[in-house]
Amino acid sequence: MTATAAIHTSETCLLRPGNTNCGGCGMSVGLTMLGRALRAADETCTLVIPACCGIVTAGAFPTTSYGVPTIATTFASSPAVASGVATIRDLNDEPGQVICWAGDGGTYDIGLATLSAAAERDENIIYICYDNEIYGNTGGQRSSATPAGARTTTTPLGKIEGKKDIMSIMAAHRIPYAATLSIAHPDDFAHKLSTALSTKGMRFLLLHSPCPTGWKSEPEDSIALVRLAVASGLFPVYEVFNGATYRISVKPDGTDPAEYFHRQRRFDDDEIDVDAARRACSDRIQRLQALAEQFPALQSH
């Protein structure tokens, strides 16, 4: 058995049972899908995880819920630590992906400069941001990924500012591959992971990650909610190659975002400006469609 295969025996997997994630957490599904994609590609990985719920997932020393080598880093540092790990991997011709698994706080906020620098250097790493639109680990404060209207412990009346467009920021670095992922679209998820795994250099994946605890939603609604987000255009799933060409993976179908808001108690039905959200969705979709038409990703990945 090769060393790579050893990771994928039936006793081992990327996310082991018995981890500490809340019920309905998007991370649990996302990590499982990531593990499957790695197995399908006969690849292994080292996870590099900053301060966030994702490192609590590991549980307490000396046990761990991660079935792969895993490093906990400081909040802002995962892409820089990953740069060091990937460098030594490459200098020693070793197999395996180096994958950052980071929250939106570590990505959009405190770690943005570190991430931007790693992207500019085109480090040979995969960076996955599981975006639950909140600081989950510290009990639910706003981040720059929190959407307008959402109540958090630091925006008790609902956030005024809208969500930062991290995908445009990453695409502007002209990295080889950037894509958004939804756990409601597992085939698309698998396809994008396989594209990412077969691409070299900096790859950025943004996963919309439901968080019943922070979203004040029902755990069993998690998948339905992120499906609504894709269909309505709140969180479109698409790919950007080299910051130049675009492909929309699942066409939004005009679903009204109202239900998405209604099913989460972080949004106040009486306060949320659904019309503004509808306009933002249609602007977002139009802009993406224009990009995908004018700069289509022709190559089949």
């Binding site: 590991a58 080598p69 490093i71 460098t87 030594i88 070793e94």
Partner: protein, 397 residues
């Protein structure tokens, strides 16, 4: 061995580079680098060094520089970086983490004043603010000592009985930018001195181990105890590293604490870095005049060599500690540790603190004269004395 006229920064850059190169038949070397005056030439040096198996990553901040070095080190490579002043303050979070991760990273620090006011000159406040992290700390006096201590630091840090990162410090400009004759060792000798790094807790791509996750209090406590044991082993392992250095390079890199004329000294001045050069000269003159004065240079500050220090001062009734650093609200940092080293062992020694050379001020022989007069005239220790301050009375009148 070739003797060259180089700056302290050049000596440091050379030492880091040849140490990294010496790991080329193992897992190689990688580091993150970021410039800051007066350290910049060090990172420029390593950036142009033709490593056989290595990569220097020019990152966007000191915080990331240490992060890249940690990633490399956790992967079993040799690693290092360099910084100074605000750079160290910005890097502090990851400096702390590297220590508790027990990663044998060597960092050269050029001691520079923390601002404001903006000031690029020598002051040890920057590295001393890191004193309670799990790093070894060495303060050097000359370019040669910077080079030798940096090489020795790798051997000590990587020793399986220690496994702790190490800081080698030098005074801004006085050492970093002053050219002196320095022996730069051949790569082949450095290869002999620094064997391939084999980090026991490094990551393996096919081993599912989580580094740095949560640990309950009793586990955390046992890790702190292991750290304490490693710190206690440093003096002994240091001597081994010093001896083997002498064997390979034919030169003594110097002891953890270095004494001059202390054997029968009644007054002893304790200091570090380049202030020691001036004090040594004053002590030499006073000895010629028959005065029983001596010098103790503290090269190692972490772990604090308390026993060796007490031993070096055994003949003295009065001790002056000269600090080129100031812990606001508490005084000089070397003095605080000196006092705690004596407490309970020898309570009859008068230990007086003198703050001198702060923010890059010159510490002249006249300042040392003033310190000796003050120390001699005292009946008890008092508040830290601020030396070399022109009271400005004449101009104020």
């Amino acid at each position: 061995m070739p003797l060259q006229v180089v700056t302290g920064n050049h000596a440091a850059g050379y030492a880091l580079s040849v140490a990294g190169e010496a790991n080329r038949t193992a897992r190689g070397v990688a580091c993150g680098i970021y410039p800051i005056t007066p350290q910049t030439e060090i990172v420029e040096y390593v950036a142009r060094f033709p490593f056989s198996k290595g990569r220097v990553v020019p990152v966007e901040s000191e915080h990331s520089a240490m992060a890249v070095s940690m990633g490399a080190s956790m992967s079993g490579a040799r690693s290092f970086t360099a910084s100074s002043s605000n750079g160290l303050a910005y890097m502090a979070e990851n400096i702390m983490v590297a220590g508790y991760y027990r990663l044998p990273i060597v960092m050269v620090a050029v001691n520079r004043t923390l601002g404001p006011p903006w000031n690029i000159w020598a002051d040890q406040g920057d590295t001393l603010m890191l004193r309670d992290f799990a790093w070894l700390q060495f303060y050097c006096e000359t370019n040669q000592e910077v080079l030798d201590t940096t090489l020795l630091a790798f051997k000590l840090a990587e020793d399986p009985r220690i496994l702790l990162p190490a800081l080698t410090c030098m005074d801004a400009f006085i050492v970093s930018h002053t050219q002196t004759e320095t022996e730069l060792p051949e790569q082949a000798d450095v290869d002999r001195y620094l064997p391939n790094l084999d980090l026991p807790h490094r990551l393996h791509y096919d081993e599912a181990r989580t580094l740095g996750g949560l640990a309950w209090p009793h586990e955390g406590l046992s890790m702190r105890l292991e750290l304490e044991e490693a710190m206690k082993r440093v003096p002994e392992v240091y001597q081994e590293c010093r001896e083997s250095f002498n064997d390979v390079f034919g030169r003594d890199p110097g002891d953890m604490i270095q004494t001059f004329a202390t054997d029968d000294a009644e007054l002893i001045l304790i200091t570090s870095g380049t202030i020691a050069t001036t004090v040594r000269e004053v002590v030499r003159q006073r000895r010629n005049a028959g005065e029983k004065v001596g010098l103790v240079k503290l090269k190692m500050f972490r772990p604090f060599p308390g026993a060796a220090l007490r031993d070096a001062c055994k003949s003295a009734a009065r001790v002056a500690v000269l600090d080129r650093n100031y812990a606001a609200g508490a005084g000089g940092i070397f003095c605080q540790d000196t006092r705690s080293a004596f407490q309970g062992h020898r309570n009859d020694v008068l230990i007086q603190n003198y703050l001198t050379g702060l923010c890059g001020g010159d510490v002249t022989p006249e300042v040392i004269d003033d310190i000796l007069s003050d120390l001699r005239s005292r009946s008890a220790a008092g508040d830290p004395m601020w030396m070399g301050i022109d009271s400005g009375e004449e101009t104020l009148q």
